[in-house]
């Protein structure tokens, strides 16, 4: 059931809108991307960029109403998830596509022992007996580096630290050996030294199991170390898409460039930090033309009038900008010099 081009996931022209008091919010507005088997894709964006809604749409977890997947296709192994019945989706969700969320405390049931929460999944999806499921739960906890897994499995979530809870979440997510793991800001709530542990763990487990990963984050450092491809989102659109190496070396979009320059570089000298002027857009009231134009330092008259084209810069590198070629050429000169 694989697609001919070997993509595990292919999202085509996805649009997810929300009805709000402010009118219709186009949270995700015509997103397309592909994920190859075994690859890690990073989705970067600021709050309101649509990065989480994109992934909730992929697994059909958009609250409806107020949300609605208006159009598009989400091809998972060639099958359009958006066309499946709720029951069929449930068979995929948690088993073949698993998720980890930012806050492990709110995604675990506080009244259930951790072991039971793990057992539920394999009993449901893999038809494990109680004993099998328990043994599997312990095995998974050991796999994610839970010290003393056997004696701690029967604890409740509040008895664990934030980092350990995130390990439990990862154990749950991976317990059915999913083909795709979606991690939505998995380390944002954690301390740096714990973040390093969790990222290292995701990397090791990914290598061992071959699971493909979508990593949603606002942290460009995390993207740099973890992903093969990146898409940069802004105002519900993909602004840039490239291999991680290329995106960091030669960005082809003014927004990406601005983001990269506004992160303090621990290695370089200080001095005034580059700042993108203005505020993130109000997605309910987007301006005509390019949504980034009001904040863009190289915007010209055309930018506030016409929506920009999605320009192919190289075979794997696209940028949503009227001046994509120029921006890319500048980056190349800067990188060379």
């Amino acid at each position: 059931m694989t697609t001919s081009n070997g993509h595990l996931l292919e999202v085509r022209d996805l649009r997810t809108y929300f009805d709000t008091e402010d009118g219709e919010v186009k949270a995700v507005d015509g997103i397309s991307f592909q994920l190859r088997r075994g690859e890690t894709l990073g989705i970067v964006g600021e709050s309101g960029s649509g990065k989480s809604v994109t992934n909730l749409s992929v697994i059909r977890l958009i609250p409806e109403p107020p949300g609605k997947i208006v159009s598009g296709e989400v091809l998972f192994n060639g099958v359009d998830i958006l066309g499946l019945s709720e029951e069929e989706v449930r068979k995929i969700r948690g088993r073949r596509i698993a998720m980890i969320f930012q806050d492990p405390m709110t995604s675990l049931n506080p009244f259930m022992k951790v072991s039971r929460q793990l057992m539920e999944i394999t009993q449901l999806h893999l038809g494990h007996s109680k004993n099998q499921a328990y043994a599997h739960a312990i095995k998974m906890l050991e796999k994610v580096g839970m010290p003393d897994a056997l004696s701690r499995a029967d604890s409740y979530p509040h008895e664990f630290s934030g980092g350990m809870r995130q390990r439990v979440m990862i154990a749950m997510a991976l317990s059915c050996a999913p083909e795709l793991l979606i991690a939505d800001e998995p380390t944002t709530a954690l301390d740096v030294t714990i973040q390093a542990q969790i990222l290292e763990l995701i990397k090791t487990l990914k290598q061992a199991t071959g699971t493909s990963v979508i990593l949603i984050t606002h942290d460009l450092g995390v993207v740099a170390g973890m992903t093969d491809h990146v898409i940069v989102m802004y105002a519900g659109k993909v602004f840039e898409q490239a291999t991680t190496k290329e995106l960091f070396a030669t960005p082809g979009n003014p927004y990406t460039k601005g983001l990269l320059r506004s992160v303090p570089d621990p290695v370089s000298d200080k001095g005034e930090l580059y700042q993108i002027p203005g505020l993130p857009p109000d997605v309910a009231h987007l301006p005509a033309g390019c949504p980034f134009a009001p904040r863009c330092e190289r915007a010209e008259e055309i930018c506030s009038r016409e929506f920009p084209p999605f320009v192919e810069l190289t075979r794997d590198h696209y940028s949503l900008c009227h001046f994509a070629h120029e921006v890319y050429a500048e980056s190349k000169t800067q990188a060379g010099g």
Binding site: E46, S47, P147, S161, G163, M164, D191, V192, T193, I194, Q195, A196, Q197, L199, E200, H218, D219, L220, G221, V222, V223, A224, G225, T244, K245, F248, G258, L259, L260, S262, V263, P264, D265, P266, V267, K270, E272, L273, Y274, Q275, I276, P277, L279, P280
Partner: protein, 368 residues
């Protein structure tokens, strides 16, 4: 006026620093809490911290959650009562001041909070929020106060017209600007900025960091910049203090802390920070610490970091390492290094060149 002069006599002067007079001098500060619920023991959130903050500098205070950095910031302002120790502001011990006296001084010491959503009263207009300190400290009222509020809003990059609006009408970054305007209203000398950018989007973080720097230049402010974000700390600070479980473990220039960390915890902390460069990320060796930060209730004996430290030896479990000047203006708390041998990787296994200094310090403390 006369009371102020009297105060000077009662105050014990701080340990004098030869080069410059510190604006804030903290001596052996402790903040202990009773744990919530039925648990016994004491939470030693801040446990014997000593350092100076000099006029016009930004001192970055970095550490993981639960290390006591926010409590320390609050204790300096006496928003949390210290259990022991002194906080000198221009040679006056703030910890000794009565409520009325304290209020008078507090005008010079302000705070910016992390969460721009919960630190502004939702029922007050921006004008009232920023203008309140003017009234409280009787600096200005009526038309004059309004004028000043408008100026303050412009100073922090907001429109004068916002004065009648409510906090919910603003984005996180704009709210943080309102919080900054409120702190600036009383013309303070010293501002504790407690995680001022953590709740903001990446593109907005840079704006707020730049604003804080601009204000520092224009108004000659001194900052204690508290953050868990080492990249922001490195960028914003002149000097950096690293905190672990209630104690300072390393203090040095911001550049030095990055390029040449001495204490194993600092080394691990810095190596854990992801760098936005795939080429560096692919090649560098990361020190991944095992385990979690232990609880501040009954923290580990000896060096508090020994439970997670890859360099820990037997003596680390017993001896409390003092903060020693290992290199000029570079202090670290680790018995496995010394001024003679600052590089822990060059120290032979089981050797602790800093042990004798630590024992001396312990003896001195015992005599006192």
């Amino acid at each position: 006026m006369s009371t102020e002069e009297n105060d000077v006599d009662i105050m014990k002067p701080p340990v004098p620093k030869p080069e410059a007079e510190p604006l804030i001098a903290i001596r052996d500060l402790k903040v202990h809490f009773k744990p919530t619920g039925r648990r016994s023991g004491v939470v030693k959130a801040v446990d014997g911290v000593t350092f100076d903050i000099f006029p016009g500098e930004t001192l970055g205070l970095v550490g993981e959650s639960g290390c006591g950095k926010s409590t320390l910031g609050r204790a300096i302002l006496r928003l949390t009562e210290p259990t022991a120790g002194q906080v000198f502001y221009r040679n006056r011990d703030l910890a000794d001041l009565s409520g009325r006296e304290l209020r008078k001084h507090r005008r010079h010491l302000q705070v910016i909070f992390q969460d721009p959503y919960s630190s502004l009263n939702p029922r007050m207009t921006v004008g009232q929020i920023v203008g309140e300190p003017l009234e409280t400290f009787r600096i200005a009222s009526g038309k004059e106060a309004e004028q000043r509020v408008q100026e303050l809003l412009e100073t922090v990059g907001l429109s004068r017209r916002f004065i009648k609006r409510y906090p919910h009408e603003f984005s996180g970054g704009q709210r943080q600007r309102i919080g900054i305007a409120r702190a600036l209203a009383v013309d303070p000398d010293f501002i504790v900025a407690d995680e001022p950018i953590s709740a903001l989007d990446v593109s907005i973080q840079a704006q707020i960091l730049n604003l804080l720097e601009k204000l520092q230049r224009e108004k000659n402010l001194t900052y204690l910049f508290i953050s868990h974000d080492l990249r922001a700390i490195r960028h914003a600070s002149d000097r950096v203090a690293v905190m672990y479980l209630g104690r300072l473990v390393e203090v040095a220039n911001a550049e030095t802390i990055y390029s040449d960390p001495l204490m194993p915890y600092t080394k691990a902390l810095i190596s854990a920070v992801p760098v936005p460069d795939p080429t560096i990320e692919a090649t560098r060796r990361r020190i991944v610490l095992q385990g979690d930060v232990p609880s501040a209730i009954n923290p580990p004996r000896g060096c508090r970091f020994h439970t997670r430290c890859p360099y820990a030896i037997e003596a680390c479990r017993e001896v409390v390492p003092p903060l020693v000047e290992i290199k000029p203006n570079h202090f670290a708390a680790c018995i496995r290094i010394s001024p003679e041998q600052p590089d822990i990787d060059k120290v032979a296994a089981n050797e602790a060149p800093g042990l004798s200094a630590a024992l001396e310090a312990a003896n001195e403390a015992a005599i006192q």
